[in-house]
């Protein structure tokens, strides 16, 4: 099967994860580790870019559910972006758009964070 890769980019207080390939029960722990790392570092403003993801299974969806509460409790969020239509359909069926912010482009998501960032005390820009 095709593999799975994660790339991370930190930009100010926002971290973006680029995920690529097959996200299923076998590769979900990889994503879980990456998210756990961010949480451990106290980086709760997370954007996940799906542009290169070709498949996501229920285990993959579960990873986001496992973190969203912790992240939101810490005034952060997981925003999703650049979903190919097939992937969006999976999220959509399950009702994710009702709970998660999903953007066409990662820039929108990052800007959303930056916008809310000004209201927070610790970081000016």
């Amino acid at each position: 099967m095709s593999g799975f890769e994660i790339r991370r980019k930190d930009d100010g207080c926002v971290s973006t994860l680029y995920i690529k390939g097959f996200l299923d029960a076998h590769t979900a722990p990889q994503l879980e580790r990456s998210l756990q790392e961010l949480v451990n570092e106290g980086r709760f403003r997370i954007v996940v870019n799906f542009s290169e993801l070709s498949y996501i299974s229920s285990a993959g969806l579960g990873v986001f559910m496992g973190f969203i509460e912790t992240v939101r409790k810490n005034q952060g969020d997981i925003k999703l972006s650049n979903m190919p239509p097939k992937i969006y359909r999976v999220f959509d069926l399950l009702g994710f758009p009702l709970i998660y912010e999903i953007y066409e482009d990662e820039r929108q998501a990052q800007e959303k964070f930056a916008g809310s960032g000004t209201s927070s005390v610790e970081d000016g820009r």
Binding site: S58, M65, Y88, L94, G95, L98, I99
Partner: protein, 718 residues
């Protein structure tokens, strides 16, 4: 004689005879010893009665007594097949008996006594003397025959024959006339020479442990002394005019015994310095053998772990030993002998950095003879023990280093080069044993897991409806083909009352027994809720409340809950994040209904209520409903394309006019054709069909208007 001289001692390199003569012919021997005693008695009587004239017959009788008794004794398995230490013990008994008899006789016979006194003395001498002589001969034979060679039998037979001849000649002619003296001296010389030849046959010494060698040295020394004593005291029997035959038998036996056991003492003395090495070798071999026996019989890893340090300490005579194994990337002390694990763990701040880590990394052993001065083993010094020497070896099998094995001794320079090699060999074997046991454990675990899955699958199968359901003019049927494991799909349909049937289709995220467990719980929850609550939306909201509480945070369930009123032909359903419901019209067109909804478990709080709604629509006879899971839409062809809703729609149109079994068969065939003949199924294939048939020849309530009244088809945009 010439032949006798050329008979070389055991040093000659004869090929060892494979069929050792230790195959005793089965013979009734009970009468041999009594017969020998009778011969001895006759000899005594003959000697007293006949005087010197009877010397010849008396000598022969005595010889016969010794030979028959020796043969009688040799049939005793304890004497013949006993271990060397046992036989040495018997030899002491024999020599003690011979010496005792000889001394006792010399007391009786050294001064003039009455006829009865002489008679009693003679009888004792004859009976006991011949018996103990026989015993001694027999033991010399069996000791000399350990690791028998070609020449062994011959040399011993020559010795026995010459000794017998000497005894008879001496008995006949004690004073020694000229011709007789030369002859008997010659034969005596042959006896001595062959006694020495046989005296080189001391292979039994090698098989003794060091402790036994020391004991054996004392014992054979004692036997030698007793033999000398017996021989010399026999010359004191002056009161008896015809004591020569007796003196000859005792004397020759004592001579041969003294030579053999004297040489045995020498062999034992020479073997003592190397005894320790021999001991360790044999102990090491025994431990390795023990361990390899264990590996074949011991399936339990824990038991194996427990026994390894024990055997290691035994092999190297260590005062303490312990085993450290890799566990989750760290080394842990897993078992120890004569030192508590807690004592050892005191230093284990980070084992990887200490000497254990070094051994594990390099795969090389470490020997330290002065722990106090050895910087490499610094971390071991913190252990509150006064060990001076420490030996550590890697436990490795096929290049996989599992851990480290340590042995420690209190004395400095406690380990020899041999010990290191021995422990390395032992550690290698331990590693193989551990690996094997681990493999066995894993396969058992797998078997157990498979059994668990089988049970779960069985349980899951029982949760599904057993067959189609008919309610008024509607037929409900479903299918659930699981992928290889326990699936996460679930379907159910059951009557709520006279007219209404509840339909559930669900997909639990994840597979395996936990999915089966959630499924069972869901079935119970749904069966209860459908009677308490009317609206599908309420049922789903309540189900979320109940189920999400106990679900893993990363798990969710998508489902559709529908209530089909088969009398009024109305359908109301809620969709909790599940695939849409397909409504197949009479003309074959298919519409997918997808009201707003989120999977169960996605949101745990009361805000879930806002995320789900239900819709109601009417159906007509001839129409059908089709509920499915993502296993159908995501079924993939070899090129990686998904089956998708488009194909579902096409297949449904194609088969919509047929009865339910035909529709189901058609669908499965289409999917199989799409996926390909030898592609493994990745997901379950689950669906429910509800078909509203035409009431037989009755007037159909015509309702040409749009059947859907409230259906909202959501096409969310990001």
């Amino acid at each position: 004689m010439v032949r006798g001289k050329s008979g070389r001692p055991v040093a000659e390199l004869g090929t060892s005879d494979p069929d050792l003569d230790e195959v005793p012919e089965v013979r009734p021997s009970g009468w041999l010893i009594p017969a020998g005693l009778v011969f001895a008695g006759l000899a005594a009587i003959g000697s007293v009665g006949g005087g010197t004239a009877m010397a010849g017959p008396v000598s022969l009788l005595l010889l016969a007594a010794v030979i028959t008794q020796a043969r009688g004794l040799s049939s005793s398995p304890r004497l013949r097949q006993g271990s060397a230490p046992e036989q040495i013990r018997w030899a002491i008994a024999g020599a003690l008996g011979l010496g005792g008899t000889s001394l006792l006789s010399s007391i009786f016979l050294s001064r003039p006594t009455g006829f009865l006194g002489v008679m009693a003395g003679l009888l004792v001498l004859a009976v006991a003397g011949s018996f103990f002589a026989a015993l001694l001969w027999l033991l010399i034979r069996s000791l000399a025959f350990v690791r028998q060679r070609k020449s062994t039998q011959r040399n011993f037979m020559i010795l026995a024959a010459s000794a017998a001849t000497t005894a008879v000649l001496r008995g006949l002619d004690p004073s020694g006339a000229d011709w007789g003296k030369h002859l008997s001296d010659g034969v005596l010389a042959i006896t001595i020479v062959f006694a020495v030849f046989n005296g080189f046959r001391q292979s039994w010494v090698h098989y003794l442990l060091r402790r036994q060698k020391i004991a054996g040295l004392w014992a054979s020394f004692l036997v030698t002394v007793l033999c000398v004593l017996a021989g010399s005291s026999s010359s004191q029997w002056t009161a008896l005019e015809n004591s020569a035959p007796f003196r000859a038998v005792v004397g020759v036996t004592a001579l041969v015994g003294a030579i053999y056991f004297g040489m045995a003492s020498g062999a034992l003395l020479l073997a003592l310095p190397t005894a320790r090495v021999y001991d360790r070798r044999s102990k090491g071999l025994a431990s390795l053998k023990h361990l390899s026996e264990m590996t074949s019989s011991l399936l339990d890893v824990d038991e194996l772990i427990r026994i390894i340090p024990r055997l290691a300490a035994e092999v190297t005579e260590g005062d303490a030993a312990w085993l450290e194994l890799r566990r989750n990337g760290k080394l842990r002390v897993v078992s120890s002998v004569r030192v508590a694990i807690e004592e050892l763990e005191g230093r284990l701040l980070d084992l990887e950095e200490g000497i254990s880590g070094w051994i594990l990394r390099t795969g090389r052993p470490v020997v330290s003879q002065r722990l106090r001065r050895d910087e490499r083993l610094r971390d071991l010094r913190s252990i509150p023990r006064h060990w001076q020497s420490v030996l550590g070896v890697p436990v490795a099998a096929h290049d996989r280093r599992l851990g480290v094995l340590f042995v420690a001794r209190y004395e400095p320079f406690g380990f020899e080069p041999d010990d290191c090699e021995l422990l390395l060999a032992f550690a290698n074997q331990s590693a193989v044993a551990l690996e094997n046991a681990n493999l066995i454990r894993q396969s058992l675990e797998k078997e157990r897991l498979e059994e668990e899955l089988r049970v779960a699958r069985e349980a899951q199968r029982k949760l599904l409806p057993t067959g189609p359901l008919r309610c008024h003019s509607a037929v409900f049927d479903g299918l659930c083909i699981t992928a290889n494991d326990v699936g996460g799909d679930y379907l159910d349909y059951f009557r709520i009352d006279e007219d209404r049937v509840a339909v559930v289709i669900a997909d639990v995220a994840g597979k395996g027994s936990s999915a089966a467990f959630y499924m069972a719980e869901m079935k119970g929850v749904m069966a209860t809720l459908c009677r308490l609550v009317q609206r599908p939306r309420e049922v789903v909201v309540r189900a979320n409340e109940i189920l999400s509480e106990r679900m893993d945070r990363r798990t969710f369930i998508s489902l559709i809950y529908a209530i089909v009123d088969t009398k009024r032909l109305k359908v109301r359903f809620a969709r909790a994040g599940h695939c849409p419901l397909a409504h197949v019209m009479r003309d074959g067109t298919v519409r997918f209904l997808e009201p707003k909804g989120a999977g169960i478990g996605l949101v745990r709080g009361p805000e879930y209520r806002e995320l789900v709604e239900d819709v109601e629509f009417s159906v007509l006879p001839g129409e059908s409903l089709f509920l499915f899971t993502d296993g159908l839409t995501e079924a993939m062809d070899p090129q990686g394309e998904e089956f998708g809703e488009g194909r579902i729609s096409r297949v449904l149109s194609e088969f919509h006019a047929h009865d339910v079994p035909t529709m189901m068969r058609g669908l499965v065939e289409e999917v199989n054709k799409f996926v390909g003949p030898n592609a493994p199924r990745h997901d379950d294939l689950t669906f429910v069909i509800v078909k509203f048939t035409e009431p037989a020849a009755s007037g159909v309530p015509a309702d040409p208007n749009s059947p859907a009244e409230e259906s909202t088809e959501l096409v969310p945009s990001p």
